[in-house]
Amino acid sequence: MPNDECRLTGTQPPADAQSTIDNRQSKIPRVGVFVCHCGINIAGVVKIPELLERVGTMSGVVVTKDYKYCCSDPGQQMIRDSIKSDKLDRVIVACCSPTLHETTFRNACGEAGLNPYLCEIANIREQCAWVTADKDEATTKACGIVRTTLTKVVHDQPLEALTVPINKRALVVGAGIAGIQAALDIANAGYEVVLVEKEPSIGGHMAQLSETFPTLDCSQCILTPRTVETGRHPKIRLMTYSEIDSVSGYVGNFKVKVRQKARYVDFKTCTGCGACLEKCPGRTESWFERGLVRGKAIYRLLPQAVPNRPVIDAKACIYLTKGKCGVCAKVCPTGAIRYDDTDKFVEEEVGAIVLATGYELFDATKLGSYGVGRVPDVIDGLAFERLLSASGPTSGDVKRPSDGKVPKKIVFVQCAGSRDSTTGMPYCSKICCMYTAKQAILYRHRVHDGQATICYIDVRTPGKGFEEFYKRATDDGIQYLRGKVSKIFREGDKVMVWASDTLAGRKVELEADMVVLATAVVANPDGVALARKLKTQIDAHGFMTEAHPKLRPVETLTAGFFLAGCGQGPKDIPETVAQASAAAAKVLAMFGNTRLTHSPTTAEVDEEICVGCGYCERTCAYDAVKVDPARKKAAVNAALCEGCGACAVACPSGAMTHKNFTKKAIFEMADQF
């Protein structure tokens, strides 16, 4: 902090200026300082006896104590006892980061009758012991950190935690296996769930898959019971072909606006007989079949779809684009076709939201040298799943797209866009090693004399039964070639692959009938857009960020939002299901309470000073601050406020302040250095 003291040379402050002056202070609070050794984490660097002695002389400190592990029960008991016996009205615990144990120590203080918000953490582990080598310097720094915290704690006011009621309904966004699992777990616990899916039916990418690694059980067979249960569950309100328009409110009390896209089919009247599907002449690219076949304008994703009702793709429908045709309406026995259908908006009120927005595959046309789009027999892994799937366009026969011939040689290209920080994504997509092995095995099941070569950089098999599955692939005669593919091109009806064998140290040219790219897994772009709209955190690649990578893996930093599935990062089916159940458990744990507590360290407005310029409103990331245009005063919705302090910083006059982080306290803290 800049200050404008005159610069005179040769004038040194008296050695113990600090305590001399502090002891003259008139209003002296009673502060107890408890120094934690954190085993040797702190005590190995900071000289605890010296720290205690120096802290003991600070104004307001009436007692200093230390203990090997303050967070342990005896450690907490020491604090509780001291509050009573020494009549403490403020507590400082000098220990690790407040993210770990602030709540622990505040609760301990609360149990001893001290307002929990009069307890502050002085972080002398991460901010001192771990980053300072010299013991004397570390001790002085720890002393400074405690002194600064002391300045703050004497300004602290007792606060009461806010509580808000909970609406015990949940919203689950995305009905792939993650969303389905989370919805079922919550619904089976007896709470209502609104399950929103943007596609016409549920199941997500899992419905596209053939068999699953490492057990080779049929994806459809294990998924269908779940989709059916979801469709029939009395507690689940299923909204397919729908998207989240907006979310307002706060944890426990969200208001969600859902846009139900025009389906042009009345789901109540439609029986799902499929007559319309046969007669429709409109053609379109089929997302679900990965472009392997042309779809129809009226379509359902698959015959086992839940709900088993078709919708019309307005862009491909001849009637809706040109006003002629109307065949589906003519053949429909129940008169369910509604050409005048429009988007509808539905409002739902929920208390918790599970985001299970899933993944997509990286756009392989960006990998220019791989010939995607130029060479028809270069396809991605999901397209190959459709070729292998019994419900796919070839009923499970492996035929290549260009001429329908059975490919005798397939080259599988791993890391197509993964682990690539220049043209693709820098991370490992995690599932490709195993699904490529599986696809090669399944290919050899279908085409017994087929040759499969897998070009890889590293084979990663960290999962139960994975390494054994990899061995099964090599036992089966599948050739593994270590080297990233650089170029794929066409020569006659062959697909040529330029690879290398880095183990032998040479370049290799492979001739194949077909190439399958294990394209990188990326966050679903619609999920990314939704996260941006909801202002939940996403990482540089669009994956949603968990509140803590180890200890809070299914929560977000925005209270009330939980994560499940590949929207948070690439993962396989068992991991996805486990995470979905964990998210459901978090929701249920929240629903086990009647009211939610909310930290009272929120922003507040001094209306005497506020002129309503709106800097705070525009700075708030949580929509918690609004300026009343008539009164020209800002107001804080404490239930929405996350206490980040951005508004208080933005406010030029100091009308906006942050409870227990007043500017006065902060300036005085800064003055300590």
């Binding site: 990233k484 330029w498 880095t502 140290g505």
Partner: protein, 131 residues
Amino acid sequence: MATSRSSTELLEQIEKLSGQTVSDCYQCGCCTSGCPIGEAMDPPPSKAVRLLQLGEAPELLDSDGIWMCASCLVCGTRCPRAVDYARIAEACRVLVLRSKQSRVDPDTVTGPELEEIPQQAFIAAFRKSSV
């Protein structure tokens, strides 16, 4: 041996001259896969970088491979870790040439086609491979 410097010094020199960090390479082999003359290059790019990673810079400087790179830059363009092998090869050549050793002696290049080859090729070849 191209120079009398130690392997560590050579690696430092190569990294400085090329602006590349050899530890960035994770040996995926993409450079070797894509090299249009990869079959003729010994060692091929990925193996050359591996030699540097292993502290075998002198072996690389003595090799034939560094003289085969025609700086078409395909390897660097496709490298997932943005390592430009063409610049590493250039640095290696420069180090050899600066120790007054030519790879190609202009006088030894003969043949009837010499009449036809565009002079840009001669200038380029001699700039890259002779003192």
